[in-house]
Amino acid sequence: MENLQMLFMGFSVVLTLENVLVTMLGAVLGLIVGAMPGIGSLAGVALLLPLTYKFNPTTAIIMLGSLYYANMYGGSFSAILLNIPGDSPAVMTALDGYPMATKRNRPGQALFTANMSSFIGGLIGMLILTFMGPLLADLGLKFGPAEMTALLLVAMTSIGWLVGENPTKGVVLTMVGILLASMGMDTLTGSPRYDFGNMYLLGGIPFTPFVIGAVGFSQVLKLMEERNKKVEAHINQKLTIKGSMLTLHDFRRLLPPAIRSGFMGTFVGVLPGAGATTGAFLGYAAQKAFKSEEPLGSGAIEGIASCEAANNAAAAGSFAPLLALGIPGSGTGAVLLGGLMMWGLNPGPLLFSTNPDFAWGLISSLFLANLLTLMIALGIIPFLIKILTVPVKMLIPIITVVCVVGGYSTSNSMYGVIIMFLSGLFGYILDRNGYGVAPMLLAFVLAPLLESNMRKAFIISHGSLGIFFEKPISAFLIIVLFAIILTPVVKFVLRKAGVLKK
C-alpha cells in the first residue's frame, strides 16, 4: 500500500506541464531513434544526453527514461516494415513481423500487435517494478556466474533448436555467432585474440553493421526476385488506424503470450547484463512451447507479441537494480546511471528514502511514457504503412542506402560498411540454404556475457563442473537446458522406433 501511495506521489511530480511535454518529446525522439537502423537505445540515449542539461535533474532523467522506453517500441517498426531491426531486441520481431506485414498483407495489424504487446509487457514490468522493485533487485543479485552461464546457455540453445526447421543448422549458426563474437579483445584479460594481425579486428566485429548486413542487406538481395511485383491493392485500402485495428480474435491471440512474456521479460531485465535482447529471445523461445494459431516464423501474432512484450518488460525490469542497487543492467542503463550521478543522485538502497520524489517520479514517468508512446505509435501506423506501398523497385536502392549509411554511422569508418556488406552476402547465402540468421545474431550478442560468466564460474570452482549443480537455480536451469537439447533427440528416436507418429 505504501508503494502505491509513493507511486501517486510520483505522479504528482510527473504531471506538470513541463514534465508531460518532456515525456512526450522523449517518446517521439525515442520512436525515431529506435526505428533508425544503426542507432539503437544506447547511442540514442547517449546522443540525447546533452539535450537534458537545461532541465532540472528530475525532468532530465524523466526525459531519458521515456526516450529509452520509446526506443523499445521504435525498434520494431523497421523490423516489421523493412526486415531491418532497429536494435538487437527487434531481431526476433522481424521473424514474424515482416512475414505478417508482407506475406499475410497485414502490416497495420503487425504494427498494432507490436505496439499493444509492448504496452502490455511494459505495463506488467512497471507494476512489478512498483511493488517488488527492491525485492527483484535482491533476486537479481542471487544470479552469480554459474546461474548466469546456465541461463544464457538456455537462451542460446533454445533459439538454436527452436528457430527454423532444422535444429542442427540453428545450433551450427549459434556456434558460428559465438566464435565471431570472440574475435577482438579477450573479455576478461583484454589481450588481443583472433585479430589475425588486422588493426580493425582488434576491436572485434561491431554488432550494428553486422545485424544490418545479415538481416537488412541480405533482404535487399532477396528482394531482387520480387522487383516486378506490383503493390497489393488492399494495402492501399488499409491506410487508416481503423483498417489497422486488431479483431477481437487477434486480441485473444495476442494477450496470453504478451502476459507470459511480460512476467518473464521483467525477471530477465532485472538480471545484470541480460537486458532486453535476452528477454526478447527467451520470450520467443518460450512461445514455442505454447500453442500458436499459425506456425511461428510465418507471420504469427503470437510470435510478435511474445518478443515485443518481453523486451519492453525487460526494459522496465532493468530499472529495479539500477534504482535499488545502483547496478545498471545494460549499456543504456550505464548511461542513465551516469546521467543520475551527473546530477548528484546516487542510486542505491538509500535512493528511495533520500530522493523519493525523484525515484518515484521516474517510475511514474515510465507509466506515462508507456501510455503516450502507445498513443503516438498507434497514431502514426497509417503513415508507416505507406512504406510498404512504395514499389519494390524503389525500395531496393532506398534500403541499400540506409544499410550503407547505418553501417558507416556506428563506427564512423568504412570498416562498418565492409562488415555490413560481407555479413549481407553471408546472410544471403545462409538464407538460400535454409540457415536462419537469428540464432547467430543472438549468440553474437550474448557470447561475451556467456564467456565472462563461464570463465568466472570455472575460476571460482577451480575448474569443477560441480558449481553448476551445487546451487538450486543453476541446477534447475541446467535441467531445463538438457530437456531442450534432449527433447527433439528423444522425439526423433521415438519416431524412428514407431512409438510416436510422424
Binding site: 551450427v172 556456434m175 566464435l179 538481395l221 524503389m394 536502392p397 544499410c403 547465402i429
Partner: protein, 152 residues
Amino acid sequence: MQSKKITSKMVIPVVTAVIAALFIYLGITKYGFWHEVRGPLPGFFPTIIGFALLGLSVLAFLGGRKEEGTTYPIENWYPALGVIGIMLATLVIGMLPSLALFVILWLKVYEKYNWKTTLVGLAIIMAIVIGAFVMWLGVPFPKGLIYNLIAY
C-alpha cells in the same frame, strides 16, 4: 558408383568446420586453454565452442548431402555490385555524392524510371540521410579525394 554433385548445402558445413578447426588450433597453440593457477585462458571458451561446431558441422554436412541444391540468380547480386561501386566511389568523390549517384543510376538507368520519379526518389533518400544522419546526428561522412585536394 554414382557421383553426387557438390552443392552449397554441403560447402557451408565444410566452411564452418574449417573455421572451427582454425579457432581450436589458435585457441590451444596461441592463446592458451587452461592455467593451473589462473584457470581458463583466452583460448578456453573459443576452443570448446570450436569442438562443438566441428561435431555439428559433420552432422550438417551429412544432412546437406540429402538436400537439394539451391540456385543464385545473377540479378540478385546487382545490389552487392552497387555497394562495391559506392565504396570505391566514396574514396574519390565522397560518400554522399556516391550515394546520390547510385540512386540516380539505379532508378534511371537500371529501373528505367522517368526523371521526375528518379529525382523525387533521390530527394526522399537524401532528405533522410542528410536530415537524420548529417544534420541531427552529425555523422562525419568521408568527403573523398577530390574534396580534400580542393579544400587543402
